[in-house]
Symmetry: C2
Subunit: 667 residues, 2 copies
């Protein structure tokens, strides 16, 4: 809320006008779900009263400028209740969705998808549906807000993040991680409205939980308050108390799921199915709602539309302050997402690497690149899930971010991989920061769906995933990611980089930052790797490139990534020594290679030459690139031993690879 | 603990003999980590006192019979402290590890791997290391114990599950899911000893958390008690209180990490690095430990070895009761893991399907198969993560398992996918039950690492993952698993079934149950699918088979799975109508196909015929089977719309596939 919002809020509507406004939400929700013959009426109807008070009295928003930087963020974490959000956006006057969009709820090409999608509607802050992640993304938004506030001051950045969450969001494990982080960071501008309806899909919540939820939130350092979710005065008081408390707040809103449907409300049958024609008629009767489906009476719509005046005024004042501020241009640049050029610094750094040829782990190369990049790009905000010294994510430019110093740029996320990833999604979607965070690659499993959600949401999040195969050594199979690089490649719209040395790592970082609309993974080694690149031509940009051309007549092409490029080079040298010409292709990012034109791809990997992939992971998938050639990899779980012994044990040495190639060539 | 254990426990050692015993653990841990030049001394040294009291006074175990069914289970959830467990197994007299095994800690082929692995040592109940999962598996063990107790009575099944967990285990999201489940199910035989040392890898715990952990456990329905983890009397009192309370118990053991290392204890520097020669010398001095590395003085070893007498006596009494019990044979059968033959019932059921040709969703086919199987196999224990009515996991034979009825056979796991999966691992490893559980396939992301841990641990867990592609329709891209089937196939030692109709589903279920040493995934459709199989020959056993042979001269082979087999059949019919002979191969399980001999594989998918894969998911990976043929699939996220429209939109219809095949054939 901006500094002047307190006085503006006196302009709010009298509470007796809320009931028809809330019923408009109920009617739109039940009619849209009925028309689609699919969807979730229970939550929108149950939370209609709370949402009405929130939008009327607390939320700072302007439908004419949905991306206005200092707006409050509203996250519908219980995304299955998407009709609540679509109804609110329509009623308050956003350009989209239109009433026709709502009529086409859940139909192909309607922006009103089954779950809210941030790329479909400007008023949707993030894509929700996978339970628990909306609230966790809101934590990230609140982090971004406090960080920007620390840099730009109350005049330019001072807003709240409001969340509606259901029992599912709270029962998921990620909730524990998200609220633990928010409590520790004392994110007082974050407020969660819990739809406490005692119902899950399977039935009453006591089928599966006996939890004292307020007690748990209090144990995590949160402020809690309760209200009757159908009593406007109580809701109003609870929301005001939440907004005022310096801690993050949980507002327990005791509601009746499907409120207004006289025969079905309060039962799990109303959660995820259309009410049916009879119950819809009964609901109209019960609510006194006489308007036709998708028709909102003018006086009620006018009340809803009047709410935007306050936000418009708040925004106008903010814009005046922005224009008057010396920092206005910088904030605008950062919110627009265009990082400052760092080409000169990176160029110098890569030139130095080409000369120095350092033999370091790519996780160390990543740290070295980050030293350059974090110095040049103030919006890079790093962190690690309690592996800072292993992931090497912290640089001289990134002091610790904490409740005592929101200007810090490195977050101790704790042992909370999923929470970290979802928070980074929220930070990226908030804007003004470019988040990166580290864990071991094997624990990408723990946050996998949030990585997927980065991709779905077109969010620039950079995952620093170190200890990327058996090279981590003694920690053994539970910690050795065998299948992870390939399985991450199956996620659409995600760039998976596995650089081979310090130059490729610097190139990967530069490209990841340049991807304004998609996330990247950097899979990095624990063990030292020799330099294989000595030029400054940014060759990783094509995803794969010819690192070494055959000297003798070309009979084989070796394709490798990361730590196995060294092995490919050694194998090629051994082959050349026997007169067998061998190209070596380094492939730091297969997704970027796939985007090259056919001529480039065919030149690099022609159909008529034997191709051999070498990667210390599962071979499934490499057939796409080497056809019926050889796929050298590891198709089983790893083992606990020093790394060099494991490479030998699993056959990933030139001495064990070359004979296989010769046999295939009939030599 | 068996009914007679109370009197036996009076035979415990006087507390003044504990200190040297605990120091033996410390010495073995620090020397083994030093020899390996890798590992984690801090936890074993910090928890040595607690572990000594646990093994001396509470744990019912017999080193001569590590798999004795009514033993207490001990789970080292903080698996990085593996030397604690190896030291305990050696000191108490298990056949393995030997002292030489411990000398070879973290070396290739040593059973003393970096993290404890259940397949390496009989005394290791489960493989731990991925944080949080050990405790969650212990919840599953405690579930299995109560369930078997309900069926076999106190005389045959009455034991405890003890866990040592660290801050990492407690901070992970899965901890919230696990303790919520345990609290709701009132698993009083589960006791967790929390190594409360105020340290994580990054530093002091207050860097990343401000949580009141006891408050949180109390909010989840747990009993909590605290003790000084270095005061034997306090530990003894706290463990006894935990054992006696009817709720699951958390024992907060306030410890000093690396206790005994005078210059490093209490600091995060002792967590995961060798102490170094100087500090080891100082520790020997500080502890008064004069024995050489890997040498335990005879009197101390004798005290440790004396502890097994109690367990041996308890086991002997239990075996006498088992022999005398009418249920003894059945319990032994169930613990041995050989399910009763259900071939007759399944055979009749499949014959009926061949005649009836039902058009049903494979999730429904799964329910139908489960009706037969759960009636025939009493150890099948099902459940769902709050999607019972969608996953269709509950049958007439499986009443609800709850705190009020542990004889039940279907668990409402709540909205806790990761907790469910880990609990199922614990149930399978406990033995006596065969767990299966459901969620949406897209949420396999949430429990992915537990699925991986099923495979690593050779655990027979069956994942019922429904709504397996765009066929789920309106819920849209967040709920449509595009990459999941292929990405699950990248996990070693996991069978991924995607059956095409009711007969293939019955075959898949039968094979999944028969896999004594590996887990299975069943990817099942939301939408109805026509029958494509009309024989009873159990053809899925080979993983892929020729469903339809070409009628005209064969020019193409269509390979499909699940819901796309129908489309492959329609495409083949259209091709045949134009004189183009087409085989259709149904491939319900590519892992089983890979295990067939080369002749079978070459006959089914010969190199010289055009092959076309059809699967409503990412195409990466299919090149392994179709070479440079066509891969028809979906290489982007899905969309929200009715299923049939989506199939058309994404080009998965015979009408859109056939022209591509003809173009490739030059027709």
């Amino acid at each position: 809320m901006s500094p002047s919002a307190a006085s503006e809020s006196t302009a709010r509507l009298p509470a007796d006008r809320y009931a028809p406004m809330a019923n408009a939400i109920r009617a739109l929700a039940m009619d849209a779900v009925q028309a689609a013959n699919s969807g979730h009426p229970g939550m929108p109807m149950g939370m209609a009263d709370v949402a009405t008070v929130l939008f009327a009295e607390q939320l700072s928003f302007d439908p004419k400028a949905p991306k206005w930087p200092d707006r409050d963020r509203f996250v519908l974490s219980a995304g299955h209740g998407s009709m609540l959000l679509y109804a609110l956006l329509y009623l308050t006057g956003y350009e989209a969705p239109t009433i026709d969009d709502i009529r086409n709820f859940r139909q192909l090409h309607s922006p009103c998808a089954g779950h809210p999608e941030n790329f479909e509607l400007a008023g949707v802050e993030c894509t929700t549906g996978p339970l628990g992640q909306g609230l966790a993304m809101a934590v990230g938004m609140a982090i971004a807000e406090r960080h920007l506030n620390a840099g730009f001051g109350n005049d330019l950045v001072d807003h709240n993040t409001w969340v509606i969450a259901g029992d599912g969001c709270l029962m998921e494990g990620i909730n524990h991680e998200a609220i633990g982080l928010a409590g520790t960071l004392r994110l007082g501008h974050l407020n969660v409205l819990w739809d406490d309806n005692h119902i899950t899909i399977d039935g009453d919540t006591d089928l599966s939980t006996c939890e004292d939820i307020l007690g748990r939130y209090q144990a995590a350092g949160w402020h809690t308050v309760s209200c009757d979710g159908h009593h406007y005065g109580e809701i109003s008081r609870a929301l005001a108390e939440a907004a005022a408390d310096p801690r993050p707040s949980l507002v327990a809103c005791r509601t009746i799921i499907g409120k207004g449907a006289p025969n079905k409300q309060g039962s799990h049958s109303v959660h995820g199915s259309p009410l049916g024609a009879d119950e819809i008629a009964a609901t109209r009767e019960f609510l006194g709602w006489t308007a036709a489906p998708f028709d909102v009476p003018g006086a009620i719509l006018a009340d809803w539309r009047s709410l935007s005046a306050k936000g418009a005024e708040t925004r106008a004042k903010w814009e005046a302050r922005l224009a008057a501020s010396a920092q206005g241009g910088e904030l605008t640049r950062r919110m627009d997402g265009g990082p400052p050029s760092q080409s000169q610094e990176v160029g110098s750094y890569i030139s130095a690497l080409a000369a120095d040829k350092p033999k370091v782990a790519t996780r160390k190369s990543s740290e070295m690149a980050l030293e350059v990049l974090t110095a040049a790009i103030p919006e890079l905000v790093g962190g690690s899930a309690d592996l800072t010294g292993s992931n090497l994510t912290k640089t001289k430019s990134t002091p610790t971010f904490s409740a005592n110093d929101y200007a810090g740029r490195h977050i101790h996320y704790g042992i909370r991989e999923f929470g970290m990833a979802a928070a980074m999604n929220g930070m990226a979607l908030h804007g003004g920061v470019i988040p990166y965070g580290g864990t071991f690659l094997v624990f990408s499993d723990y946050c996998r769906n949030a990585i997927r959600m980065s991709a779905i949401q077109h969010a620039r999040v950079i995952y620093v995933l170190t200890h990327d195969s058996i090279g981590l050594g003694e920690d053994g199979p539970t910690h050795q990611p065998i299948e992870h690089v390939m399985s991450l490649r199956t996620i659409p719209d995600l760039l998976v980089f596995r650089p081979a040395d310090a130059i490729e790592t610097a190139e990967a970082w530069t490209m990841a930052i340049a991807q304004k609309d998609r996330p990247s993974v950097l899979a990095l080694s624990r063990q030292n790797l020799p330099a294989v690149r000595f030029d400054t031509e940014f060759r990783s940009a094509k995803g794969a490139y010819r690192l070494k051309a055959a000297e003798a007549a070309r009979q084989v092409i070796l394709v490798a990534t990361g730590s196995e490029v060294e092995i490919a080079m050694a194998s090629a040298a051994a082959l050349e020594a026997e007169g067998i010409g061998a190209d070596v292709v380094s492939a730091p990012c297969l997704e970027l290679f796939d985007e090259q034109d056919a001529a480039y791809r065919a030149d690099l990997l022609p159909a008529d030459v034997l191709k051999v992939s070498i990667e210390a992971g599962v071979t499934l998938g490499w057939q796409k690139y080497v056809g019926d050639g050889l796929t050298i990899g590891i198709d089983r779980f790893g083992a606990s031993a020093p790394a060099d012994q494991l490479y030998d044990y699993f056959g990933l040495t030139a001495g064990k690879i070359v004979p296989q190639i010769k046999a295939r060539l009939g030599r």
